[in-house]
């Protein structure tokens, strides 16, 4: 299918891309504030986003372009097991509702911009602050690279080969993020999400209608899985059930530890904005569940793909007129720009506040912080671009997987401290090191699979490494707190939350 340039689709694609580029630069004036004078303005959009803007912004950076490509691809490849994204993006919201308003309040009251700021504020430990910041940056870089891969898949499907189109798209993204900060993705998220909603609603109504209904879609997928054999099918094998549940839970706990999702939280106007979003954001999850089923529709439409990642573009090209293909592909590509921008802003905020301000220039002015962050956002994006230009795609996927495991290890330092002062900073640091160490080693030695297996006699249990590492992390942090408190009863106690 690739090779021929598809002019109708491409023209529509370029039109929408140009539209959001103009919007991106215009965004600096939107809900205007002094973007270059304060990090709150550039990096958090002035902390003024209400319920609807937050809904679009968090929805836009949490459900990414890569999701639209990768979730159906996984469901296409392995069946029911790939569907874990659905329970994951449901149980995340009770968690967001219970925890994130508390986090927002601590950050708002103290002017904190990043998770590492909050950790430093609670535990008064520069070491713990630094590892939380570095973990966030390391976990974000491959995630940005994945967005580029998602964009690359649709650009390639329109017949454009080579790396120039991606480089061009990325330079545009980098420049308007530089000049407008978080306001740019917040504004573009409106366009992106409305487009994605249209595409998905059309697809989930029209595609089954063309293919003979959902019953036919599921039975075509079932036939393919039966023919393929192995651990694929419309429901889980008994050995996959624990893995499915732990992947869902671990991913849900990790989701709002990432710098980009937290940026959306910190940029909210109030704690109530976040609570309302916990109620309203599952609308996206419904969409995600339907998007996942595009993988099965690929079987019903009998599309032939060399890589599962091509299944969504191939499905659209097989079933829709080229103008709608162009619209759908631009929705996916713009869907890559929003999270990539927010991710680079989140990483830039971390570097500015918790590395630059903490170690290089403690007396930096507010305007100075904003300019360090702007430059860092460019560097971070160039890094992600270099990633996909010079390294095999598989590296980005593997590192993204490890990134999820890593970011989950910041959970105790950030979340436990919101509820209790009992843990000691040194103990949390030790727990973090144990979680990162064991988790990375286990995933690495399993050939970068996210699963680990423990055997007890005849029974063996396969589970998500990240969640296992988090449990180890928390247990070590608790034990070490007991030991440290016994040896040094009064030293290093965290100061009270202000």
């Amino acid at each position: 299918m690739a090779g021929q340039i598809q002019w109708v689709a491409l023209s529509i694609f370029i039109f929408f891309f140009a539209l959001v580029t103009v919007m991106g630069f215009f965004a600096a004036r939107w809900k205007s504030g002094p973007v270059s004078e304060h990090l709150d303005e550039w990096g958090l959009g002035g902390r003024q986003f209400g319920t609807w803007i937050t809904w679009f912004l968090v929805g836009g950076d949490f459900y990414t372009a890569y999701t639209v490509i990768a979730v159906p691809a996984l469901v296409y490849a392995v069946g029911a097991y790939g569907f874990f994204a659905l329970p994951y993006t449901i149980i995340v919201y009770p968690f967001v509702f219970a925890v994130m308003p508390i986090l927002w309040k601590v950050a708002y009251d103290n002017g904190y911009v990043t998770a590492a700021d909050v950790v430093h504020g609670i535990h008064r430990s520069r070491g713990l602050e630094l590892v939380v910041a570095l973990t966030g940056i390391a976990a974000t870089m491959p995630y940005i690279a994945l967005q580029l891969i998602g964009m690359g898949v649709v650009i390639k499907a329109m017949g454009l080969t080579g790396e120039l189109p991606i480089i061009a798209a990325f330079i545009i993204l980098a420049l308007y993020t530089y000049s407008s900060g978080l306001r740019a993705p917040a504004l573009i998220a409106f366009v992106k999400d409305i487009m994605i909603y249209i595409v998905v609603l059309v697809a989930v109504v029209l595609v089954p209608a063309k293919l003979g209904g959902y019953g036919a879609v599921f039975s075509a997928a079932n036939d393919a899985f039966v023919a393929k054999g192995g651990a694929t099918g419309l429901i889980l094998k008994p050995s996959q059930m624990l893995a499915y549940a732990t992947l869902a839970l671990g991913s849900a706990l990790a989701a709002f530890m990432y710098p980009h999702t937290l940026t959306g939280i910190f940029a909210s106007k109030s704690a109530d904005t976040i609570r309302k979003n916990a109620i309203l954001l599952p609308a996206y999850t419904l969409l995600l569940g339907l998007i996942a089923l595009l993988g099965y529709m690929g079987y019903a439409a009998a599309v032939k793909v060399t890589s599962p990642n091509d299944v969504v573009p191939a499905l659209f090209q097989a079933l829709f007129p080229s103008w709608f293909v162009g619209f759908a592909f631009s929705a996916i590509a713009i869907g890559a720009l929003v999270p990539a921008a927010v991710m680079s802003i989140g990483a830039a905020n971390l570097f500015t506040r918790n590395v630059w301000k903490a170690y290089v220039n403690p007396d930096i002015s507010h305007a100075g912080e904003a300019s360090v962050a702007k430059i860092t956002s460019l560097v971070v994006k160039l890094g992600a671009l270099a990633f996909i230009l010079f390294l095999p795609t598989q590296y980005a996927l593997d590192l993204q997987l490890l990134g999820g495991l890593w970011i989950l290890q910041t959970f105790p330092a950030l979340v436990f401290g919101l509820f209790t002062r009992w843990f000691r900073a040194e103990a949390l640091l030790l727990g973090w090191a144990a979680g990162i160490g064991w988790g990375t080693w286990t995933a690495w030695s399993n050939g970068l699979k996210p699963l680990a297996t423990l055997a007890f006699g005849d029974a063996s249990y396969t589970f998500y490494v990240g969640l296992g590492a988090l449990i180890l992390n928390a247990v070590i942090a608790a034990l070490a707190t007991v030991v440290i408190s016994a040896v040094l009863p009064d030293r290093g106690r965290a100061t009270a939350r202000s």
Binding site: I90, P208, I235
Partner: protein, 59 residues
């Protein structure tokens, strides 16, 4: 009321409870429509907790 927030965790993480093909609904096997049904149910549960809160630190 906060206990309601635990229900989605129980309903979705206890996989043996819903790992079946039947009964299907509108062509969707049970495994799929059961999990999709938890999306509006979870929203509703969170809304109920939201409504029941005392107006504490609403900023």
């Amino acid at each position: 009321m906060w206990i309601l927030l635990l229900l989605p965790f129980i309903g979705l993480l206890w996989v043996p409870f819903y790992n079946f093909l039947e009964p299907s609904l509108f062509g969707f096997p049970f495994f799929y429509w059961y999990q999709l049904a938890w999306v509006p149910i979870s929203s509703l549960l969170i809304w109920l907790v939201y409504r029941s809160r005392s107006p504490d630190d609403a900023h």
